[in-house]
């Protein structure tokens, strides 16, 4: 009996063996709709100063202390392109499966108070019908390399008048597709119809 308790303790300890954060990012999102579809998630990522300085130095090829037009692509290549396979850490579920992220749109970079700020839209295409379609949006790094603090309480929705959209933020605990995510991960729950 005592041994079984010990083994249980050990298994619990091993399950904790995952990576830990080295980079920190504050994230805010906006769900974007067109007249007849969910078209994507507008992201704003604000990185911590230490990581920002490292990436800024890597991207600032001409060393003028500014991110110029031709260096914006370099930031995207360094920061976002490696995340393509992970859907740029944007997870959108529809009908019990993850919708694939299509591409990045409107990428822009700024340095604000020493922090690297990325603005971009992760494009999706989920059509609206006369019945409600439900989505859950989560922005999170499952490798735990970047600790993403997503402000879901202030997440926004941009939709035209012709579309009926309801949304609320909550934890995704209990949802099957997010069972591998940390228990306190928050998501934006949406449903929309024409």
């Amino acid at each position: 009996m005592r041994l079984s308790y010990i083994l249980l303790l050990l298994v619990g300890f091993v399950v904790m063996a995952e990576a830990h954060p080295h980079v920190f990012a504050d994230v805010s999102i906006k769900a974007v709709f067109s007249q007849d579809a969910f078209t994507g998630v507008q992201n704003r990522w604000t990185f911590d100063e230490v990581y920002s300085a490292a990436m800024f130095a890597s991207a600032d090829e001409n060393g003028d202390g500014k991110i110029t037009w031709n260096e914006i692509d370099e930031v995207k290549r360094l920061v976002l392109d490696p995340l393509q396979q992970s859907g740029y850490f944007n997870y959108v579920t529809v009908e019990s499966k993850f919708a694939p992220a299509q591409k990045i749109e409107g990428f822009s970079v700024a340095m604000t108070n020493g922090k690297l700020v990325l603005d971009f839209k992760v494009a999706y295409s989920i059509p609206a019908t006369s019945e409600y379609t439900m989505l859950v949006i989560v922005v999170s790094d499952q490798t735990n390399y970047i600790q993403m603090t997503t402000d879901m309480e202030n997440a926004d929705v941009d939709a035209p008048d012709g579309l009926d959209v309801e949304f609320f933020p909550d934890e995704v605990r209990g949802l099957t597709l997010f069972r591998a995510f940390r228990s306190d991960t928050e998501g934006l729950f949406l449903r929309f119809k024409k």
């Binding site: 995952e18 300085a53 130095a57 390399y145 600790q147 929705v157 939709a159």
Partner: protein, 341 residues
């Protein structure tokens, strides 16, 4: 005129009330999701404007992991503020900087993935001494931090300010190799454990009394207690050095980033001092786990020494230690591919 303004105002309210976007809690299919007060009406048919805050029925929870991560985030901000203060001539901030580095190191190592499960697994598989617990805990963190400093400095000499991308490329390669080797270490410990079981069943003739068992087991041979119970081998120094090297060789990106931040601010000596203090902080945490693991194993041995199933307990503990290390390596390896859809 007044009537027109009132009419326009009423019209605007009516349009807003029928607007399409609502912040509203709805049933997601679980049946127990309550509806709550609505947040009404986007301005101009676009962004929703909160009119009332919906009541949440469930309090927000924060996991232990999140608490540690958020604290590290706060410390990192204080760290950059201290560096900026020193850069602008306020060298009194150095004490604050060093204290933050120490606490940051301790907290950073408390997070998963710093070899604590490897330390615990090893000292469950092997009976260790206190100094061996200290050595393994310290060995992993010193290797982990110093490999980061070394790799960063070498790459900085080559790539200058654009070093971090090259560092990350190198780190990911080393990381994968390290996790594969951790898995191999776990497998080896299990194999050695099974070999010891077979040996003890055959009666290998290396009987030693419990008071001399540790010495007898130094060469990896099995030993016996005074009651004739086979004891698993004692931890060996060359194994400890190997486990520390394999586990700690992955360069710590957190240390590398802070060192690079100092270098980019032309503070070379401060970067090395900061790395050293972070290393000390991380060592404190990992050594505590090393000592706890040795104590844990000693507790198992002592608690079961006079039971009839003592040999079985020793065997299970030895195998469990190897399995823990293998699973740790496997989880770390697969975690690199987590979140791919």
């Amino acid at each position: 005129m007044k009537k027109s303004i009132v009419f326009l105002f009423v019209l605007l309210i009516a349009v807003a009330a029928s607007a399409a976007v609502k912040k509203k809690r709805f049933d997601v299919g679980g049946g127990d999701t309550p509806t709550a007060a609505e947040m009404v009406a986007p301005a101009e048919g676009a962004s929703a404007v909160p009119a009332a805050v919906p009541k949440k029925t469930v309090e927000k929870t924060r996991s232990f992991y999140t608490v540690i991560a958020e604290e590290q985030k706060v410390l990192r901000e204080k760290l950059t503020a201290a560096i900026s203060a020193m850069k602008s001539g306020d060298w009194g901030a150095i004490w604050k900087f060093l204290l933050i580095c120490l606490v940051y190191g301790m907290l950073h190592a408390l997070g998963p993935g710093h070899g604590k499960s490897i330390v615990v697994g090893y000292f469950i598989a092997r009976r260790g001494r206190w100094r061996q617990g200290v050595a393994l805990g310290a060995g992993i963190t010193v290797t982990h931090t110093m490999s980061a400093v070394l790799l960063l400095l070498i790459l900085y000499a080559i790539f200058k300010a654009t070093v971090f991308n090259a560092f990350e490329t190198g780190r990911i390669g080393i990381e994968r190799a390290s996790y594969a080797l951790i898995m191999l270490t776990g497998v080896l410990l299990v194999v050695l454990g099974i070999r010891d079981v077979i040996k003890s069943r055959k009666g290998c003739g290396c009987a030693a009394r419990i008071d001399t068992a540790e010495e007898a087991a130094q060469d990896g041979a099995c030993a016996e207690s005074s009651s004739g119970i086979a004891l698993p081998p004692v931890a060996r120094w060359r194994e400890i050095i190997g486990v520390a090297a394999v586990t700690g060789i992955v360069p710590c990106p957190a240390v590398a980033l802070i060192v690079l931040f100092c270098l980019l601010n032309s503070m070379v000596a401060l970067s090395l001092l900061g790395a050293l203090v972070i290393c000390i902080g991380m060592t404190i945490t990992n050594v505590a786990f090393g000592i706890a693991a040795v104590a844990f194993r000693k507790g198992i041995d002592k608690g079961s020494a006079h039971t009839r199933i003592a040999t079985k307990i020793y065997t299970v503990a030895t195998l469990a230690g190897g399995v823990i290390i293998f699973i740790s390596g496997l989880l770390l390896f697969t975690n690199q591919f987590a979140g791919r859809v």
